[in-house]
């Protein structure tokens, strides 16, 4: 199991487009993927789940991957966050 904490650095927050990017990236992997925001924990492969977090600019998320390819999954997702999902 891999756990990583990450802060949202794109101004618009995790709206529909970034949420789709995350889900599409995560579903490529076999590992389970969860995202935790304060008391909310959702399945990172579910689009409705990820959007339900309503994670705004500056908020903190905990990413948890569990499975054979957990490291690659987390790495790809973290890169997306750091690249601000191609936004500002």
């Amino acid at each position: 199991m891999v756990r990583k904490t990450i802060r949202i650095v794109n101004k618009l927050g995790m709206h529909a487009r970034p949420a789709t990017m995350i889900v599409k990236a995560a579903t490529k992997y076999r590992s389970e993927f969860r995202i935790i925001k304060s008391d909310m924990e959702i399945n990172g492969k579910s689009i409705m789940g990820v959007m339900t977090l309503a994670a705004e600019f500056g908020s903190e998320l905990e990413l948890v991957a569990d499975g054979v390819d957990e490291k690659f999954l987390i790495q790809e997702i973290i890169e997306m966050f750091l690249n601000k999902f191609g936004e500002e």
Partner: protein, 321 residues
């Protein structure tokens, strides 16, 4: 290129357009090759630079009264110059009488003249509608066409993927079948209309059973003859890494005979009730026509919340300082 012989045209439309042939029957030898019509106007005055001679020429009151105003010799020459062109047919409207020279020259040069009792405007309209249907672009494609809540849904996908079975389930749910397996699509006035290629009835092949007659089995309410095509749904086997639409903000479209219609790529896997999903596609399409887009509605709400929360966070940070 499509064409219709003048003879066939006359036989088919003489009643509707109340046509009668003025010239000798032998003059009906050409073909109509375009759905456009032409008022010769300037050509009759001797200006032929942009004369669309290959169209049916309509002589209305303007043309006839102009010709009647000409001196005999000039009339003869102008008409002769005009009829040198390979005109498929001339139609005189309102049953107006034609100067004798024109009739004589048309017989000589083998150009048929019809007289119609309709007004120019009426003739123009009916003739255009008829010719457009004759010359409309069409093609046949492999698929199944259904009327789902009034939305024309074209189901496509590899053979054996279950288009017919899906159509059967839709029929059982009260939707209507237009045609299975082969759809003839015609493009008319920016609208795509689909129908069967033959008039045998609404037969369908179901793997393992053979042919069935949907109208006999489910009743006449389960079928219809033709339907405007609104959405294409491509059924495809589920693939793990395929990029399926998740939210519905981006619309994909497909080009059929120069008309764009939305297309939905629908992954199917065992246990999925495709008929229900297709009904949902139809209802979503209707919703969008009424101006309500669920995907936009949801994402706008999310966006508002994100903005509000980001502002609150900013405020809190400032207060701490």
């Amino acid at each position: 290129m499509k064409k219709i012989s003048v003879k066939e045209f006359y036989e088919l439309k003489k009643k509707d357009l109340s046509l009668s042939l003025i010239t000798h029957p032998n003059t009906m030898q050409g073909n109509i090759t375009t759905s456009f019509l032409n008022r010769p106007g300037l050509a009759l005055t001797g200006y032929f630079d942009r004369f669309d001679y290959n169209r049916i020429q309509i002589f209305g009151e303007t043309e006839i009264s102009y010709l009647q105003s000409l001196e005999e010799e000039m009339l003869y020459n102008n008409i002769k110059e005009t009829l040198v062109y390979d005109i498929p047919a001339i139609i005189i409207t309102k049953g107006l009488s034609v100067p004798k020279q024109i009739e004589f020259l048309a017989n000589e040069m083998m150009i048929p003249i019809f007289s119609s009792r309709l007004s120019t405007d009426k003739l123009f309209n009916s003739l255009r509608i008829y010719l457009q249907s004759v010359f409309a672009e069409s093609k046949t494609i492999h698929g199944t066409l259904m009327d789902v809540f009034g939305v024309g849904i074209l189901l496509t996908g590899k053979s054996g993927i279950g288009k017919s079975e899906c159509a059967l389930e839709l029929v059982e749910r009260g939707q209507r079948l237009i045609t299975d397996d082969v759809v003839k699509i015609t493009s008319k006035d920016d609208i795509l209309v689909g129908c069967a290629t033959n008039n045998y009835g609404h037969f369908m092949e179901v793997r393992g059973i053979g042919l069935i007659d949907v109208a006999k089995m489910f009743g006449i309410q389960a079928v219809r003859m033709k339907k405007r095509i609104d959405v294409q749904i491509e059924l495809m086997p589920w693939k793990d890494n395929m990029d399926y639409e998740r939210i519905g903000l981006s619309d994909h479209s497909v080009d059929i005979l120069g008309n764009k219609i939305p297309i939905i790529y629908l992954p199917i896997s065992p246990g999925k009730n495709i008929a229900v999903i297709i009904e949902v596609v139809a209802m979503n399409h209707i919703s969008k026509l009424f101006g309500y887009d669920a995907a936009k509605e949801y994402t706008n709400k999310l966006q508002e919340e994100l903005t509000r929360k980001a502002k609150m966070r900013e405020k809190q940070i400032k207060e701490k300082k």
